[in-house]
Subunit: 145 residues, 2 copies
Amino acid sequence: MDEIDQKWMKTAIQQAKMALELDEVPIGCVITYNNQIIARSHNQVERLNDPTAHAEMIAITSATEAVGSKYLNKCNIYITMEPCFMCAGAIHWSRFRKVVFAAADPKKGFTKYKPSVLLDKVEIIGGVLEEEARLLINRFFLRKR
Amino acid sequence: MDEIDQKWMKTAIQQAKMALELDEVPIGCVITYNNQIIARSHNQVERLNDPTAHAEMIAITSATEAVGSKYLNKCNIYITMEPCFMCAGAIHWSRFRKVVFAAADPKKGFTKYKPSVLLDKVEIIGGVLEEEARLLINRFFLRKR
């Protein structure tokens, strides 16, 4: 497993932990450019009262500001959970070339619908620090029961 | 064809015209609640330099603020073009029950990927004022050539 991928995923997991503390579904996201973080975020659906405020959506908007371009084709995106259909669409429009996620999401993950929603050339890596990411999700939903 | 649907679509087309004037891909969106408009928007990808700034995404965020709830399950959404998969995902998360669009989008529209990305019970109506909406799109892309 790529050490750099693990490193950025660790930062994404820190973001997920912040979400957990705020009683949000604990999902975190990091976007890198030239091997540096240019955006980090966590899910904020509850705080913003907005069903579109997923970690990825917030990070993408922030990254385009940082890069000064609407295309993030030289950036990588790290997410602690497999993106949903909406976020996969956003990743498509942003033209990412590498998508790394931790835990799979068989229920709402985009691969359930159509993996080809992403660009043809995109590199998709799943399972990076999966257990750690899933533990946070499980802790959240146990608390909600 | 439902007169009320046509009425709201006309307002969505006005929004698309505003986008055209601003040299944005001319797509407009209206969200109604209790037969009143609570959000209207147009595509702002270029102005905001943000690939996620589609008309629907902006309108949904605005509507959740207006309603004070992250669920828009008593709202209808009118769009001048078939939503892409990102926006279809956002429509799913917002729990809309009725989605009305004008022009179909065989290239990037969500029905190409998987119509079932929307909730099972959602009512989808396409083709309302289709010609008028498509005319704006065609005018935009002709200008770009």
